[in-house]
């Protein structure tokens, strides 16, 4: 066990993947000499060379499109998109090529591409540096979408993602990059919990609270605060956003009968909708109240002086828990 920051834990996972498979190459803007704007790839170009850790020209479609060609040639490219808001120029290559090549070629051409995207807000940045675009990709068949919430998971899940023969969008909660945690770097990623599985991170009886990435920490805090108020909250860290491990969520909701989903992304058409709809389908008769979503609003990510109003914080999620439980809350008395 070592104490590592979240960013360092990914760095160490990338290093292991580079060591274990000569076909792994890293690509992105400023990932070489600089080590990435968040230093996640720090030192890797020095140790693995310019052909394994590639500073690319400034063009995201170009990065992902050439990654497709490298995958065609048998490589396993790991692409860094510098910030969430810069993934859109590559959207066409991701959605039309990365996601569909395996289906198109009846499995002949594999696309073992990992696309790393630092995402989410809370760091006081200007426009395009705090977005949560995961739902776009979760709605895109052919992709897998995952997000770690702890240094240990970040370390193992990045290695699992790289080892996976399907393309994986790997969303890194950038406001947790500096959080520290124990990481067992000797853990065999093949033996660790698969990235497809959700994890119950706090047991509870009264209500199920589902979160992922940056909000898992907040959700745990919610459970503690709720406990003070006599509510028992079960917290689930989704880990995989597409597909969501509904079996785990379902089991919890069958027990608690109530569901709250929290994410930073825009509410309408977000993952929360899919989770609410699917869980309602799967356990309608167990539900004692409608699933509650506590999310970012349907607005462009606001400038930093306002971001705390957009981001679901502790109290807003607690208020959602109150709603799920039918306790007095901010909407009490409102019809519908």
């Amino acid at each position: 066990m070592t104490q590592l920051t979240f960013a360092r834990a990914i760095n160490s996972g990338l290093r292991r993947s580079l060591e274990n498979d000569a076909k792994v190459v890293l690509m992105g803007e400023d990932i070489g000499t600089l080590g990435g704007v968040f230093r996640v790839t720090d030192g890797l170009q020095k140790d693995f060379g310019k052909h394994r850790v590639i500073d690319t020209p400034l063009a995201e479609s170009g990065i992902v499109g050439t990654a497709v060609g490298l995958a065609y040639r048998g490589y396993r490219p790991v692409v860094e998109i510098q910030f969430d808001g810069f993934v859109y120029p590559a959207f066409d290559q991701i959605v039309c090529q990365v996601a569909k090549m395996h289906y198109r070629t009846k499995g002949a051409v594999k696309m073992p591409i990992t696309i790393r995207i630092p995402f989410g807000g809370g760091i006081g940045s200007p426009e395009f540096h705090s977005e949560s675009p995961e739902a776009y990709f979760a709605h895109t068949p052919g992709l897998r979408v995952i997000s770690p919430s702890s240094p240990q998971d970040a370390h193992t899940m990045i290695q699992q993602a790289i080892a996976c023969d399907d393309p994986v969008l790997f969303f890194e909660p950038k406001r947790r990059y500096h959080d520290k945690g124990d990481v067992d770097e000797s853990l065999d990623p093949g033996a660790a919990l698969s990235f497809e599985k959700a994890r119950v991170v706090a047991d509870g009886r009264d209500v199920t609270l589902v979160a992922y990435g940056p909000l898992v920490k907040t959700a745990r805090d919610v459970a503690l605060a709720a406990a003070d108020e006599g509510m028992s909250v079960e917290v689930i860290d989704l880990r995989s956003l597409a597909p969501v491990d509904f079996a785990t969520v379902e089991a919890s909701v069958r027990k608690t009968g109530r569901l709250v989903i929290a994410h930073e992304a825009v509410q309408s058409g977000g993952l929360g909708a899919e989770i609410a709809a699917s869980i309602t389908e799967r356990c309608f008769y167990y539900l004692e109240s409608a699933p509650v979503r506590v999310t970012g609003f349907d607005v462009p990510y606001p400038y930093s002086k306002l971001e705390m109003h957009h981001l679901p914080g502790l109290d807003r999620i607690l208020d959602g828990v109150d709603r799920a439980l039918g306790r007095p809350n901010s909407l009490s008395g409102l019809e519908g």
């Binding site: 050439t66 060609g69 490298l70 065609y72 395996h102 289906y103 070629t105 002949a108």
Partner: protein
């Protein structure tokens, strides 16, 4: 300045830093080794690259050209007869496709568009496989690795990045093969194509951009995409280019060999503009009389890529009745096989819709497949159950 046939040329304006044309850019002469009349003209720089083209080789190129045209005609007929959903004819572009494809080695890797079915034929793709996509029986007809040929790209320009990335892989592997991307004149406007040039030039990878300037992107003439020659574009990225008569199979072959040779020797990317003409419609769904002048087609018919090779063979006394018969028989056989392969192609199974989305199990999709198979089981006739009108009523 050599301007091409639909009015591309340099801009003209005065003053400092004025026109692109005045800044040392003069446009390139078209490389030609066989005239439209079938005369073999010599070219000191390009001749050495087709020295090995013996009489026998010339006859075999002729055969490929004729067969390719026959494939096109037959596929068009199959579409008209309702056996194919759509077909994008390559009529008029045979020399560009055969000349370039025949220059390739087996271990080179090709990233084609929907229109490059002559290239696919050259790479050894089975004709039935070529038709799968157009019949609606598959999203792609072949395993790319068996013929080192990617599947036809529909998103305009996308494949140029794939070829560039593939070439990055070749470079990393220290191999001496090359990647080649086919693209159209319209494609040059897409961001992806320009980014591909940026990456290819930055990393100096072994990739060839082979652009068939067939003068049209559906209804849009090439001058809408560019007022200057397409071959000028790559120069600004630091990529050398050639502008060849795309209806001249030898010139195309020579230029492609020049480019491949450079790629193999570590000399980086090359761009080839093959000036040709789309003599047919964009696809069988298109009606070019709505947007283009019949005279233009007439003019280009004079430059037909097959006619001129035929004339060359004739001049050389190679166009024997035996050759004509052999080529004709080959073309007939190919067309027959293709038609049979097309009409006897087995339909896919309903549950194929769920296959190959992922390489490993996927909880969402597996559940949907399970539900849908139950649904189908609840009906006698799956096709009816899945029709818009339904079978239940």
């Amino acid at each position: 300045m050599v301007t091409d046939e639909v009015g591309q040329g340099g801009t003209t304006a005065g003053g400092p830093g004025s026109s692109a044309g005045q800044q040392g850019r003069t446009g390139q002469n078209l490389v030609q080794l066989i005239t439209p009349a079938g005369e073999r003209v010599s070219h000191p720089e390009y001749d050495p690259w087709v020295q090995d083209m013996s009489d026998e080789q010339l006859c075999s190129l002729y055969e490929d050209l004729v067969v390719t045209r026959r494939i096109d005609t037959e596929a068009t007929a199959l579409q008209r007869q309702g056996e194919l959903g759509l077909w994008p004819p390559m009529l008029g572009q045979e020399a560009s496709q055969i000349g370039s494809a025949r220059a390739l080695r087996d271990d080179d890797f090709v990233f084609p568009t929907y229109r490059d079915n002559g290239v696919a034929y050259c790479r050894g793709v089975k004709l039935t496989d070529i038709l799968r996509v157009w019949r609606g029986n598959a999203s792609a007809g072949w395993d790319p690795y068996t013929v080192n040929l990617g599947t036809p790209q529909i998103i305009i320009g996308s494949q140029t990045l794939h070829a560039t990335g593939y070439a990055m892989g070749i470079q990393n592997d220290g191999a001496d093969s090359a990647a080649i991307a086919y693209l159209g004149d319209g494609a040059t406007s897409q961001g992806d194509v320009n980014e591909a040039m940026v990456f290819a030039a930055s990393f100096q990878v072994p990739v060839v951009f082979f652009c068939q300037n067939n003068h049209w992107a559906i209804s849009e003439p090439v001058r809408l995409q560019s007022h200057v020659q397409i071959a000028d574009r790559p120069l600004g990225f630091g990529i050398p280019s050639m502008r060849v008569d795309g209806n001249d199979v030898l010139a195309v072959m020579a230029a492609t060999r020049v480019a491949l040779d450079r790629a193999r020797r570590g000399g980086g990317p090359t761009f080839i503009e093959a000036v040709t003409y789309r003599m047919g419609p964009h696809t069988t769904a298109d009606d070019p009389t709505r947007y283009r002048d019949a005279n233009e087609l007439e003019d280009w018919a004079q430059k037909d890529p097959i006619r001129r090779v035929k004339a060359l063979l004739e001049r050389k006394g190679l166009l024997t009745p035996e050759l004509e018969t052999a080529v004709q028989q080959k073309a007939d056989a190919v067309a027959r096989d293709m038609r049979t392969g097309c009409t006897t192609m087995p339909d896919p199974e309903p549950l194929d819709v769920f296959k190959h989305v992922y390489s490993t199990p996927h909880s969402w999709l597996d559940r949907q497949q399970d539900h849908y198979s139950r649904y189908l089981d609840s009906f006698g006739d799956p096709a009816g159950a899945a029709s818009e009108e339904g079978a239940r009523r």
